[in-house]
Amino acid sequence: MASADTPLAELDERALVDACLADDPGAFDLIVERHRRSVYQLCYRFVGNHEDASDLSQDVFLRAFRGLRAFRGQSSLATWLYRIGVNVCLNRLKAKSPLSAPTESIEERQFIDVRAESPPERMLKDERGARVRAAIAQLPRKQRVTLILRTYHEMSHQEIADVLGSSIGAVKANFFHALGNLKKLLGEEF
């Protein structure tokens, strides 16, 4: 139980959620600050561009805010936000038809990279990365979702099957075809 003098930053997740529900100013801001990077990365992997990922991230946090009363603490706040994020992204993929390749502007690619790479190496890597993300964005929806959840979120086949409402065998087949199509889209260079 948090006392009135306990700083927000020292509250555990349950107490922080309670603070949000008690209209404690800054409580939800702190939740956003702690989880904005992971939420953004999740959204970006689905839509492949910064602008849509930013919009989706906002949607995820708004839905989380509205559903705070439903948070029971049975899972971590990160997992709970993650499930909301996946649903938001899946709904976006369903609504956005036909699928279009993301267009990363030059500015989006020129981000600060703290790794020790020479500028030409970094530019080449950024270019290759942009091509890979563009190719993933062109995959059919279930193949894209399967590849993202398996590759970047290390979800089990069973968990992915639960998300997509399909079988483990179908998930593995989707993953197989996703990787095959990815190779066709990227060509021999990769």
């Binding site: 600050e33 990077r37 992997r45 509205r66 709970w80 499930r83 087949a173 197989f176 095959g180 990815l182």
Partner: protein, 208 residues
């Protein structure tokens, strides 16, 4: 017999050993497919989300803060604090209309003084005030309805309008004849309870 998609994925991910699939040793096609699968898995994993500008994170937090601050109508009726935030920015007339509609839907009080066409004066009271004697017997005092006693939000609204009567509201342009507010004052008990149920249902929060 060639390995199918599921079997190739199992071998590529390491959940099944190559030794358990002896066909691989003798089939160039299956070995090529296995090599391609592993290469693409590595490629996809190697190129993740590019890092946005450091300024982006605070901007995202600001956007979320703004949209959350505007999301007041999405909150529950049970939240009295939310009702205050909802009502404060409204104009006086809009706020009074909303108050009359909600309060009259659950707090029909004093009996009407006459038949339709006579001047109607309905006194709105707090839940703790005693009910006036009914002269027509038609109006039912819902103050004593135990189902409504624990509704803090409606208690708050009722207390804010304790001194408001329908005649005054009408003179202010609120609840004119034919309006929704006016219709509410002519609902029977069952209709008023149903209206309140519908209002609560519409304004209930949705979980994720």
């Amino acid at each position: 017999m060639h390995l199918n998609a599921v079997e190739l994925i199992d071998v590529a991910e390491g959940t099944r050993s190559e030794a358990s699939a002896p066909h691989l040793a003798s089939c160039d096609e299956c070995r090529r497919q296995l090599t391609d699968l592993r290469a693409m898995m590595s490629t996809a994993a190697a190129f993740d989300v590019p890092e946005p500008s450091p300024l982006f994170w605070d901007h995202l937090s600001e956007r979320v803060r703004n949209v959350v601050a505007q999301d007041v109508p999405g909150r529950s009726l049970q939240d009295a604090a939310t009702w205050r935030r909802l009502l404060m920015p409204l104009s006086a007339v809009a706020a009074a209309s909303l108050i009359v509609a909600v309060v009259l839907s659950s707090r029909v009080l004093a009996p009407q003084s006459g038949a339709h066409g006579d001047a109607e004066k309905v006194a709105l009271r707090t839940p703790l005030a005693p009910a006036p004697p009914s002269t027509t017997g038609a109006a039912t005092d819902l103050f004593n309805d135990p189902a409504s006693d624990d509704d803090l939000s409606l208690t708050l609204v009722a207390s804010l309008t304790a001194d408001l009567d329908l005649e005054t509201a009408g003179e202010a342009g609120l609840a004119p004849h034919g309006s929704a507010e006016h219709a509410v004052t002519n609902m029977n008990d069952d209709e008023l309870r149903e209206l309140r149920r519908l209002l609560n249902e519409q304004l209930a929060p949705s979980g994720a």
